[in-house]
């Protein structure tokens, strides 16, 4: 069996060669450790890359790992001359995405209830951009479609999993109730 040191070397090579995310299972299989050990090894390694004088780092996306450059070095990479495609999302798209992210899987009706406006076309665009996908149908009458976020969503917004979303204050509603002025 390899020392921890060697395993880190193997992981670097494998992630580099892959380019694409490599699943935890696959990594565990390659380095010959169980998933739990591999996971803690990866967490440790991610930390090391982050803090070392390195131009690259490891991202975790949905239990898979991928090498990428550190964001602060973007200005130098741009000089390489590769063309960047960037088409921002509309405010409506961000709002819709936020609602889906926290309530997934969620129906269109539920999203519209929160936003107060129709969001059919926004939803279609999000699906088109692969940030959102259909996720079966709800049991309620009419069996409306459900929507959820995708891996691409995690990638674009830098989350390692949906559990990574910052907690919204759940007590807020309660807070509101308590703060209701009594006239």
């Amino acid at each position: 069996m390899e020392s921890i040191h060697d395993v880190e070397v193997i992981i670097e090579a494998v992630l580099f060669a892959s380019g694409d995310p490599v699943s935890l299972e696959k990594l565990a299989e390659i380095i010959g450790h169980d998933k739990k050990t591999t996971k803690s090894l990866m967490t440790n390694l991610m930390y090391k890359y982050q803090n070392a004088s390195r131009g690259i780092m490891i991202r975790e996306i949905d239990n898979a790992y991928q090498l990428c450059t550190k964001p602060e070095l973007d200005e130098y990479i741009i000089k390489l001359g590769s063309v960047r495609k960037k088409q921002g999302l509309t405010p409506a798209a961000y709002e819709t995405l936020s609602i889906i992210a926290y309530n997934q899987p969620v129906t269109r009706a539920a999203i519209e209830q929160i936003r107060g406006v129709s969001c059919e076309s926004v939803l279609m665009k999000l699906v088109e951009r692969n940030l959102v996908r259909e996720a079966g149908r709800d049991d309620s009458p009419g069996k409306p479609k459900l929507y959820e976020t995708t891996e691409e969503f995690l990638r674009v917004f830098g989350f390692s999993s949906i559990k990574d979303l910052p907690a919204l204050e759940l007590n807020e509603v309660q807070e509101v109730m308590e703060n209701m002025p009594i006239d």
Partner: protein, 261 residues
């Protein structure tokens, strides 16, 4: 009537995502406490916007009008002079609206978080995959001890049944296959009757017939020779035996033979 606020914000009008978005804008603009919305002012300002939109010939989405109605309804309820002291459990007419606004606010704020995160993460770069050798398939044996055991039990059961079956068959053969000498004599006579010369080994050989049958065939041949219906010739020792018919006045069918058991 056109307020300064209305004019200042005319340009932004079409950018509101919906009635909540507009309400929010007004609340923030006026630095209002979300939990204590001065409904009269806000309603007036909201209506100003709708009027401005109308003046600009902007199509006002129905959602904005629904909200306007809601605001006006709340306003009217709040304007009603309460004759009696406020009851403990009386619901503030603004409550439902506030709850919705608070909910909406959460996502609106998260929208901003998403935007910031996107800005950060769109600055990371990935690498194209290296050309990897063709996909190889590694096979991993998927086996179970329980299956091994039950397969063995099955195969042994089958073997036992087969063995029983085989020994039964053997007994049957031994008991039943009494190759009758009579039938063999008839066989030989039939062939001789056609004027054929018979090679003994062609009709009775141990590769095709049982030993019993060959032996009986041999006896039958001797019997046929004995009664003078055939002649036997064996040119070489252990060599082929030829049986040749002997012409006879008797019909073969009438010839009687001793049937040795």
């Amino acid at each position: 009537m056109k307020s300064a606020l209305t004019e200042a914000c005319t340009l932004k009008l079409e950018k509101f995502e919906g009635p909540f978005d507009l309400l929010f804008y007004l609340i923030e603009k006026n630095q209002i406490d979300l939990y204590d919305i001065p409904i009269l002012e806000i309603t007036d300002q909201y209506m100003d916007y709708l009027n401005a939109m109308q003046e600009l010939d902007l199509e006002i989405a129905s959602e904005f009008l629904v909200m306007a109605a809601t605001l006006l309804h709340i306003k009217s309820r709040m304007l009603l002079p309460s004759r009696e002291p406020v009851a403990e459990d009386e619901v503030d007419p603004r409550e439902e609206l506030i709850l919705k606004l608070v909910e909406y606010k959460k996502y609106k704020e998260f929208s901003q978080v998403l935007r910031e995160r996107e800005q950060k993460w769109e600055r990371v770069h990935y690498k194209l995959p290296e050309p990897l050798p063709q996909i190889e398939t590694e096979y991993e044996l998927d086996v179970s001890p329980a299956i091994l055991r039950s397969v063995f039990a099955d195969v042994m059961k089958r073997y036992r049944e087969k063995m029983n079956d085989v020994s039964m068959k053997m007994k049957r053969i031994l008991n039943q296959e009494k190759v009758s000498l009579k039938s063999k004599i008839r066989e030989i006579l039939d062939l001789l009757g056609r004027g054929l010369r018979i090679c003994f080994s062609k009709i009775y050989n141990t590769r095709e017939k049982s030993r019993l049958e060959v032996a009986t065939g041999f006896l039958a041949m001797l019997q046929v020779v004995k009664v003078g219906r055939a002649e036997v010739e064996q040119p070489t020792a252990f060599g082929e035996i030829f049986v040749t018919p002997v012409a006879s006045a008797h019909g073969s069918e009438n010839v009687r033979f001793d049937e040795g058991e």
